[in-house]
Symmetry: C2
Subunit: 244 residues, 2 copies
């Protein structure tokens, strides 16, 4: 199993043992590269492996009511299809947002390792629980906020998640997002997305040019978005000590 970021995260989340860490590091994997728009997995497929995002971004998406809805965005260190270990069929399309690199680990190999370590099983289980927690935030976001707060919240979340793997210092990060993709994740049209971005610029909350996104006046932005990073700070939490 590759990527120091994933291992570091599992460590932070669940405090895995030295032994387990070694097992992860010994896992065989293969690297795959994707270009913008490439499809990593299709709905209906039954993958025989899971992947870890090494660099770049993936998104999970599907056509709903003639609109492309993005249900998740995955950043380096994430395992977008970890659930296929237990639910064999891909529910939605997995797509590379810009260029990306992933590491692929076979199910059988993963199962072997997990069968031999309750600690790792729990660590991976927790990973999927954090994803569920993120989904609940998205439900709140789409159900209750209007465009400005919605976009602000999503950007805050992405910045926070990138921060925890060292890809966002302070307030700016690099990502190949288009306004269209963020619009599809926020459930609004591209046109209105554009107007919302302009409003955020006008208020001095955002600088987004090309592939660099900068969150300005971050506390104001987070207040506007009602963003509370607690749901992500299961990372680095002191709770890990009392867990098992």
């Amino acid at each position: 199993m590759p990527h120091r970021k994933l291992i570091a995260r599992l460590q932070a989340i669940s405090g895995i043992s030295h032994d387990d860490r070694a097992k992860l590091e010994r896992m065989p994997y293969t690297i795959k590269n994707f270009a913008k728009g490439d499809i990593v997995a299709r709905p209906g497929e039954r993958p025989l492996s899971c992947c870890v995002v090494l660099s770049g971004f993936l998104c999970r998406q599907r056509i709903v009511a003639s609109r492309n809805q993005v249900t998740s965005i995955y950043v380096p260190g994430d395992m977008p299809d970890l659930h296929t270990l237990h639910m064999p069929v891909m529910d939605r399309e997995l797509c590379s947002v810009g260029d990306s690199t992933i590491a692929v680990v076979t199910h059988s190999c993963l199962r072997n390792v997990l069968a031999g370590s309750a600690g790792l099983t729990n660590a991976f289980w927790r990973e999927t629980l954090i994803q569920a927690e993120i989904h609940r935030e998205w439900v709140d976001n789409l159900g209750s906020r209007e465009a400005l707060g919605r976009v602000a919240h999503l950007l805050c979340e992405i910045a926070a998640r990138l921060g925890s793997v060292g890809l966002c210092k302070e307030k700016s990060f690099v990502a190949p997002f288009t306004q269209g993709i963020i619009a599809q994740a926020c459930g609004i049209s591209v046109v209105h997305m554009n107007r919302t971005v302009q409003e955020m610029r006008r208020q001095g909350l955002l600088d987004w040019r090309g592939h660099t996104i900068e969150l300005l006046r971050r506390t104001d932005l987070e207040e506007l978005a009602e963003f509370n990073p607690a749901y992500l700070h299961v990372l680095n939490s002191p709770e890990k000590l009392v867990l098992l």
Copy 2:
């Protein structure tokens, strides 16, 4: 661990062994009753137990942008706070929709049993993955559909989930939902919810009087909602055989 429905479901989902089944049945639990609106767990709490819904309905909710957003609805057989095993802090409020009964099992007891059975660990893990899958459907629903399709989809989902525990035959089920609660889950106002229900009645798709909800012309309804129960049919799927 109580409730035949939960055990039957775990069995169907993951094909647990006779041994594991016995372990579940031997778990000690206590029963709690709640009335409409009672709060089962508060945000910020660190419960020392998990619960199983025995009868009635719970919902997970939170105030977002001055609106109460319902993020999940739990039916008999569900474990609304299973995630507290790994993520100690409740993120949102858990609330009884009508009258309800739950069984409470302590974390320590659950952990003991899970530590002794990889099969059960995987079965419970799968439960949380199904919840995540339901959350993704909600994201699609809130992000892409307008009111009519949204309400239709939610009602189809609830009927299907109730069906899998024998609480919905054919097309009608009993539930203490108000239009207001479904509105809060669908991210629309009560007024518009009411008009949407009337439109569904007008089209002969729905009969909802008091606590009895009847889905009429179900195939038309499911088509309108683009409802595909596959995401719930991990239940009773043949895939369980090739799983582990």
